[in-house]
């Protein structure tokens, strides 16, 4: 291990972790990891999904007990038994999955567990203080709103306000931008910069290389639980970091052969549908997807993407319009009918809709194929064949799991994702609907997933790819359609698309209007 920072800095670390070891059943999540954080600086913690980043941070805030190792805060050896101890030391964490009570208000969530509060807290004073802080850090949120009423981005703001309200000095941010739209991530970046300017320090976990390069001072890379590199951000590059994380060269640009569009697989004609609240979510969407083609759907989340995928997979009824699969009428059919019609689905809410957490990896892998021979015979499952089939998928898709029988919720997020992908792709008969397939994935897994999608396309399948990541769409899609407030602003071939006009369409400018505005072209 190279430790060049000792001579490079005059400051003493505000936080130091030495030789942290954490063992879970069947997996060594942290293997003698060292970490140093300097006051006023940002340390990026990188690593593939499942490398042990969250585990290390959970050891720091006292949610996990490390099996070995020492922690020093401001030079003092500390023993952190619970998040309360961590808070007392000024350590606060934004977890990868939000830690919010849905049925409580923003203000209530923010003061939860603060022991120093009076027995009967003055909620008006609390709200006032929250408004003050929101104004200072430009984190707009209504203290009286209930969490369930907030968008994902607003919930993330509440998480940050929680840290600020409690006066945390050492901030741990575990993939805070994974669920955010590009705009929201940008906003978060601003807040982090303000806090650093105030002398706070942060450990920042992300898979997005631009973010690493933009605001961190130091980078540490974990691989399979071990610390493999310590770098100054200024002295490294995204390529080098990606290689250190994955242990191989990562292509940020993928080879894409020219497509050969075949028959029309899916046709949507003037689709109108409502969202859960009964408000119009799709207003006259017409699209066509051919075999051997990836149709990308661009747009800021919440503009009808979810409803669109649900309509195509039979999970949502349309009020008006028609869904045709291979020219056959399939409007308002059940999800099973759509599966039988050859439609596979990678849902956006992977844990909720994609897998059954308490079931084995192997069972999750066959959840679509189990109705047919050879996995089932005369209505009875054939466990040995299922296992064999699962092993093959685990190998092909490089799913990191201790055994095929491990309950799937124990896998890291990226590997759960790969499992869903493996199941959907292997069961796919023509049409794949993929909602944000690379969201939350590390660079290596992202590359794998994109490659898989391209492979399916080259095999003649049609892929409907919902993504917020324009880079991703430009890299692998053949056609890009832009969705805004439930309507298609325009469709154009990916080679002819440019980020600027896509961005304008995402903001509600129609393609036809673009053409008549030569200033933009």
């Amino acid at each position: 291990m190279n430790e060049p920072e000792a001579e490079n800095t005059l400051k003493n670390p505000i936080l130091e972790m030495r030789g942290i070891v954490k063992q879970f059943p069947g997996i060594l999540a942290n293997d003698h990891v060292d970490l140093e954080l300097y006051p006023g600086e940002v340390l990026s913690l990188l690593g593939e999904n499942g490398a042990g980043k969250s585990t290390l941070m959970n050891c720091l805030v006292g949610l996990y007990r490390p099996d070995e190792g020492e922690i020093y805060v401001r030079g003092q050896r500390v023993d952190i038994h619970s998040p309360k101890d961590a808070a007392a030391l000024g350590i606060g964490m934004i977890h990868q999955n939000f830690k919010l009570v849905q049925t409580m208000t923003v203000a209530e969530n923010i003061i939860l567990g603060i022991g120093a509060l009076p027995f009967v807290p003055d909620m008006d004073a609390v709200s006032r203080r929250i408004r003050e802080l929101s104004a200072r850090y430009s984190l707009q949120v209504d203290p009286q709103a209930y969490i369930w009423q907030l968008s994902v981005g607003e919930q993330q703001r509440v998480e940050i306000l929680k840290l600020i309200y409690r006066g945390a000095e050492i901030l741990i941010l575990d993939e805070p931008t994974a669920v955010l739209t590009p705009q929201e991530s940008h906003e978060l970046a601003g807040v982090i910069k303000v806090m650093m300017a105030e002398g706070k320090s942060a450990i920042f976990i992300t898979h997005k290389m631009e973010e690493v390069m933009e605001f961190s001072d130091w980078v540490r890379v974990l691989q399979h639980g071990r610390l493999v590199a310590v770098k100054r951000t200024a002295e490294t590059s995204p390529q080098e970091l990606a290689r250190l994380m994955v242990g191989r060269e990562v292509l940020f640009r993928l080879e894409k052969r020219a497509g050969t569009p075949g028959e029309t697989l899916l046709e949507l004609r003037d689709i109108h549908a409502e969202d859960d609240k009964g408000l119009p979510a799709l207003r006259g969407v017409s699209l066509a997807l051919h075999g051997g083609e990836i149709l990308g759907i661009a747009g800021v989340a919440g503009n009808g993407q979810r409803e669109l995928t649900e309509v195509v997979t039979g999970l949502r009824k349309v009020r008006q319009g028609r869904v045709l699969v291979r020219g056959e009428e399939q409007t308002n059919r059940s999800p099973l009918t759509m599966i039988k019609a050859g439609i596979s689905h990678i849902p956006a809410d992977r844990i909720g809709m994609g897998v059954v957490g308490d079931m084995a990896v192997s069972d999750n892998l066959v959840m679509k194929g189990y109705r047919e021979a050879p996995l089932v015979e005369k209505g009875v499952l054939r466990p040995r064949r299922i296992l064999k089939y699962a092993r093959r998928l685990i190998e092909t898709f490089r799913i990191a799991t201790p055994t095929p029988q491990t309950r799937i919720k124990f896998l890291s997020g990226g590997n759960i994702q790969k499992a869903i992908l493996a199941r959907e792709i292997s069961a796919c008969e023509g049409l794949l609907v993929a909602a944000y397939p690379s969201r939350g994935l590390d660079v290596g897994a992202t590359e794998t997933v994109r490659k898989m999608l391209l492979e399916q396309r080259d095999k003649g399948m049609g892929v409907l790819l919902i993504s917020e990541d324009l880079e991703e769409l430009l890299t692998i899609a053949d056609q890009i359609a832009v969705l805004f407030e439930g309507a298609v602003m325009g469709v154009c071939p990916a080679q002819e698309a440019d980020i600027e006009s896509l961005g304008l369409m995402m903001a509600g400018v129609r393609q036809t209007e673009l053409a008549s505005a030569p200033a933009i072209a």
């Binding site: 996990y64 830690k99 919010l100 849905q102 409580m104 003061i111 939860l112 567990g113 027995f119 009967v120």
Partner: protein
Amino acid sequence: MIALITSVLAITLRAGTSLIYATVGEIYTERSGILNLGLEGMMLLGAVTSFATAYYTGSTWRGLLAALAVGGLLAALHAFISVTMRANQVVSGLSITLFGSGLASFLGQRLGPESNNYYLVGMSGPRFSPLVIPGLSQLPILGALFEQDILTYFLYILLPLSWFYLYKTRNGLDLRAVGENPQTADAMGINVVKTRYLYTILGGMLVGLGGAHLSLAYTPGWTENITGGRGWIVIALVIFAMWNPSRAALGAILFGGINAVQFRLQAAGTTVPAEFLNMLPYLMTIFVLIVMTWWEALSKRIGAPAALGKSYMREEK
């Protein structure tokens, strides 16, 4: 007519008191995320021990202490099984009911005086009699509130206090968070294990008091199955109250009212078969559960603590 209503209301309140104690107790417990189905057994055991203690010491107050202790102890056992051992809470609760009922019935046949073959049944001991408040009790209708025993009077404090505690204090907020989302509560520095023990035991003590009210005030003395299934009705009442102490009285009064009407009708020599009248509270329970479930689905309002019945351990995914 007014006098009749007032008297029915007074009986209603008397019949409802034990239900209210147990309901509030179970609300505290369930708010922490622990489902305790041991109520029936705990009420029975609370009733028999409080009566026996009062009988021998001559003090109803010592009887109450015994009920508090027994309720708290059984609840602590339930907390140990469900929080520390993380066993299935339904199974643990049912076992406690079986154990409590069995033990109560056994004690009822052993703790009595020699002269009565060691049976407690048929013995009479000290009791909480109604304390009629002069003046106030003369009010039409409202007067019913002021001819009650001390345990009922205490409810007039317990109910608003519990509501205030749950919704207005820091501890109440933390308690609700533990029942809704223990992962979050833990991450926010709240001690989930301690909270769950604390409120399961507190809840158990109140349930014990509910049992004591039966044998020391409502139907003084010990009889087999003195609770008549009240422990089960309370489970439904908690749902009816939507886990809110201020609504606990409503349901309890509804069920107490059925009791009161039942008494009145029987006393008046009605032609309705007694079996049917006895069935009413249980029919009502089923009816309430159906309506509440339907209403919950319709209004998409969820009253149940989200983590109710689920065990929590830190390092478990």
